[in-house]
Every structure is written in structure tokens, then in C-alpha cells.
């Protein structure tokens, strides 16, 4: 077998003299020196391989052989040397390694048998086919794992950015709707039975709004305002009337003071509390 010569050369297996040991019935003549591992390094070596496929790939690589044409005899021999070495170190040998050993021996045996002749044009199934398929797939995944590990990875190669957000910067204010106001008012009425005493009309609300407008106007003026200046004819008669009613209501409530020096003289208004106002 010329291919086996390749791997044998690479592994520097010397011509058999006398077996050192028998491993799975195979005579071991000499520890292949590239495979010899000092006993105390064995534990480290065990960790170095991820399993039987990884170990096989290592052996094939060292021999620089074509994975599609694996020389089964030397490969099996080297594999068994390694496994036996592991066992002799009393290391807990994973069953996976032994399963692979059995598979290798089986393939090797089948290689020795004459191949069954398949139909014309069909390739006979090579006993190594399944092993080769598995080796190639494992090799592919092993390299994919290395490639994945080279990608930048969160927390190892970069951090995500998250800047402090101070929630208190956003003062959330309660929202009030017209409905809330109605409900509050309804609650008040129910509670105080006010609806008898305060029969309020829509117009009255307008009057109240205008009372506020006039008060604010007088407050901002800070002193006397002429009566006619409080009215804007452009707003139309209904508004003027409501405005006037508001004025009367304010006078009735003594909230403003009206003065007129003589008949037909200008009427002046000011807030009652503006008298002697120091503000």
C-alpha cells in the first residue's frame, strides 16, 4: 500500500523488531516518536482534543495525507497508541474514543476483504466513506467555530452604549379633561346637595368668565380704566351684553368701583382693592 507508506514515513514508524505491546490485538512495535507524549503531559493533551474526530484529524494533518484516501492501517495504529497511552495513565477514557477505535478497526478489516462487485457503472462503497464524510463535516464545523470566534463579540470586543437618562428631567404633569371637571362638579353637587341653591345657567358661566376678564384687565391696568375701553364693539351684541352683565355683577359683589364726576362725564372703573394699592 503506497498510501500507507506515506503515513508510515511521516510518522517515522520503524521496521518491526518485536512488539512493545499489543493494543486491541495489534502489535505495537515502537512508540511512534511524534506521538510519544510524556506521561505528565497526557492530561494536557487529553484536553487539547475535542474528541476522537479531532484526534484523527490531527493525525491525518501530521501525515499530510488526502482525507479521501486515508491509509487505514497506520492511522488506526497511531490512534490506538494514543488511546492506549491515555488509558495507561489511568485517565477516565471517554467511551467516544473507544467507539471510534472499534470503528477504525472495523474499517481496516473491511479494507482487507475483497470489495463486493457492484453493478456496472456503480462505484463500490468504500468502507472509509462514512468516516471521511464525518471527518470533513467535523473539520468544517471546527473551522466555522474558529471563524465565529474571530467576529467582534459583545462584552468581549465592544460594549453596547447606554447613556444615563434622568427621568426626573421629565416632569410628568397630571392631565385633566373636561370630563374630569364635570365629574368633580357632579361629585360636589351630590355631596353638598348644592343643585337647589346654585341653579346655574350656561350664560352665567359666560358672565363668570367675563368677570374674570374684567378683573384681570383692571388688575393689569393697575388703576382707573375708562368704561368704554372695556368694550370691544367688534365682538358683537351678545358678548357686549354678557360683558356688561359681568360688570354689574362685579359691582354688586363690590369687586370694582365705578366713578363718574358728573352726568355724561366719562365713567371710570377700578378694582376695589386698588384703593391705596401699594403693589
Amino acid at each position: 500500500m503506497s498510501t500507507s507508506a506515506t503515513i508510515a514515513a511521516a510518522a517515522a514508524v520503524e521496521a518491526p523488531v518485536s512488539p512493545l505491546a499489543r493494543i486491541y490485538g495489534e502489535p505495537l512495535v515502537q512508540m511512534p516518536h511524534d506521538l510519544y507524549i510524556p506521561p505528565d503531559a497526557m492530561a494536557v493533551m487529553l484536553d487539547a482534543f475535542e474528541g476522537p474526530l479531532d484526534l484523527l484529524l490531527y493525525l491525518i494533518r501530521r501525515a499530510n495525507v488526502n482525507v479521501l484516501d486515508i491509509p487505514m492501517a497506520p492511522l488506526t495504529e497511531q490512534y490506538l497508541v494514543y488511546v492506549e497511552a491515555m488509558r495507561s495513565q489511568n485517565l477516565e477514557l471517554a467511551a467516544d474514543y473507544l467507539v471510534m477505535a472499534a470503528m477504525l478497526i472495523e474499517i481496516k478489516s473491511r479494507m482487507l476483504l475483497p470489495r463486493p462487485k457492484a453493478a456496472v457503472g456503480d462505484d463500490a462503497e468504500d468502507p472509509r466513506a462514512e468516516l471521511v464524510r464525518r471527518l470533513i463535516e467535523y473539520e468544517q464545523m471546527k473551522r466555522a467555530a474558529q471563524a465565529l470566534n474571530q467576529l467582534p463579540q459583545a462584552e468581549r470586543d465592544f460594549d453596547w452604549v447606554e447613556v444615563w437618562v434622568e427621568k426626573t428631567l421629565l416632569r410628568r404633569l397630571p392631565e385633566v379633561t373636561v370630563l374630569d371637571l364635570q365629574n368633580a362638579w357632579r361629585g360636589l353637587l351630590r355631596q353638598a346637595k348644592l343643585h337647589a341653591r346654585h341653579l346655574v345657567q350656561r350664560e352665567e358661566l359666560s358672565v363668570r368668565e367675563h368677570m374674570t376678564l374684567i378683573l384681570r384687565r383692571l388688575r393689569d391696568a393697575g388703576g382707573f380704566v375708562e368704561f368704554v375701553d372695556l368694550f370691544d364693539p367688534a365682538l358683537g351684541a351678545p358678548v357686549l351684553v354678557v360683558h356688561f352683565l359681568a360688570l354689574l355683577e362685579l359691582a354688586r359683589e363690590h369687586l370694582l368701583e365705578m366713578t363718574q364726576m358728573e352726568a355724561f362725564a366719562p365713567i371710570y372703573l377700578r378694582l376695589t382693592d386698588a384703593r391705596g394699592d401699594f403693589r
Partner: protein, 198 residues
């Protein structure tokens, strides 16, 4: 995309002071932008393996503060160190991503507001008469601080109590043009009567 190849390429930076301060500032930015907690000057010195003095760092932090002036984040010294934070004006946008339920006013505040709305101008005494309970100063203050209620005058009675009324802002915030747009009280009263009749 430049692929970082391994932990190998990540070797620690040179221990000596990086030659130009721009590089130091970039590192400060990277560190401060990716850390939520404030970083003390001691932390930041540690980032540079204590090869950059606290004085230099303080100066660079001030420069960074200025450089970020026009940007959406601000670099601020807080009690426990320096940190970036999002400027207040961007909060409403952030809020849209995680909307929270707005708080509610208490019944006391809502009733007081309703009374001011419908009976304005009113004194605190008026409000107390209607509600039948004392009105806490705090309640009125909440409404004043909100800019919804203001003093528009004083009643000419002993103590010259302040007259409270609603403001233009109140109408704006409720989307109203005038108080006249509020449902008339008589309507409320009638629905109340109806409800009571049930």
C-alpha cells in the same frame, strides 16, 4: 467590516501617556458613553493605568463638556463623578418609546379646580363653603404652579381675601377657546338628577 481577530489584537494599550490629548479625549468619551454609572477621576485615571494625572483629566473633561455643548447629550459632573446624560429637551421623544401613565390629581385638587372654573372669581372661603372642608394651601398652590389658576383681585371684605380665577393657559391646556365651551352646569345638574332618580 473590519474584523477584530482575537483577544490577541486586544493587547493592553501602551502604558505611557498617549501622545496627543485628542486620543485621551476619545478614550474618555468611549468610557463615559458606555457606562451608566458616574465615573470618578480615580476611575478615569485607572482607565489610563494611572499614567494621566487628575489635573490633565479634569482639563480634558472640561473640554469635552464644551465640545458636547451643541449635542444631544451633556457631560456633567455629579456628586459621585462624571457622566453623560440625555438633555431634557429630548425626553419627550424618548418618552414615546416607553410611554408611562401620567399621574392623576387628587380629588381635592380636581374639586377645587372645578369650583374655580364654574364659580370664578372665588375666594378660598367660597371654595371651602362649597366643599364643606378646609382647602389646604397646597391644593391651591398646585393649581397656581401649573399656571391654571391666578389671583385676579381681592374681595373687599375683612381680610381682603384673594379672588381666584382660571387663566388663559388653563383653557389652552384643555384645548378650549373659552369657558363657554364647557358643558353647562344645568346639563350636569340634569344628568345628576337623572342619575339620582335611578
Amino acid at each position: 467590516m473590519p474584523v477584530v481577530t482575537s483577544g490577541k489584537a486586544m493587547a493592553p494599550p501602551p502604558a505611557a501617556l498617549p501622545p496627543d490629548t485628542t486620543a485621551v479625549k476619545r478614550v474618555l468619551e468611549a468610557v463615559l458613553l458606555s457606562t451608566r454609572e458616574p465615573l470618578t477621576l480615580a476611575d478615569l485615571r485607572r482607565v489610563f493605568a494611572d499614567q494621566v494625572s487628575a489635573e490633565v483629566l479634569r482639563g480634558l473633561l472640561d473640554e469635552l463638556h464644551s465640545e458636547w455643548r451643541e449635542r444631544p447629550l451633556e457631560l456633567l459632573p455629579v456628586a459621585s463623578g462624571w457622566r453623560f446624560r440625555t438633555r431634557a429637551e429630548y425626553m419627550p421623544y424618548l418618552e414615546r418609546l416607553h410611554p408611562e401613565k401620567p399621574p392623576r390629581y387628587s380629588r381635592a385638587v380636581l374639586e377645587t379646580l372645578a369650583i374655580i372654573v364654574y364659580r370664578q372669581p372665588v375666594t378660598r372661603g367660597d371654595i371651602e363653603d362649597i366643599r364643606g372642608v378646609t382647602v389646604a394651601t397646597q391644593v391651591i398652590r398646585v393649581l397656581e404652579e401649573r399656571g391654571w389658576v391666578e389671583v385676579v383681585g381681592h374681595r373687599d371684605t375683612p381680610g381682603r381675601p384673594a379672588l381666584l380665577a382660571t387663566t388663559r393657559k388653563f383653557l389652552d391646556d384643555l384645548g378650549l377657546c373659552s369657558l363657554a365651551e364647557l358643558p353647562a352646569l344645568e346639563q350636569i345638574n340634569s344628568t345628576l338628577d337623572l342619575a339620582d332618580a335611578q
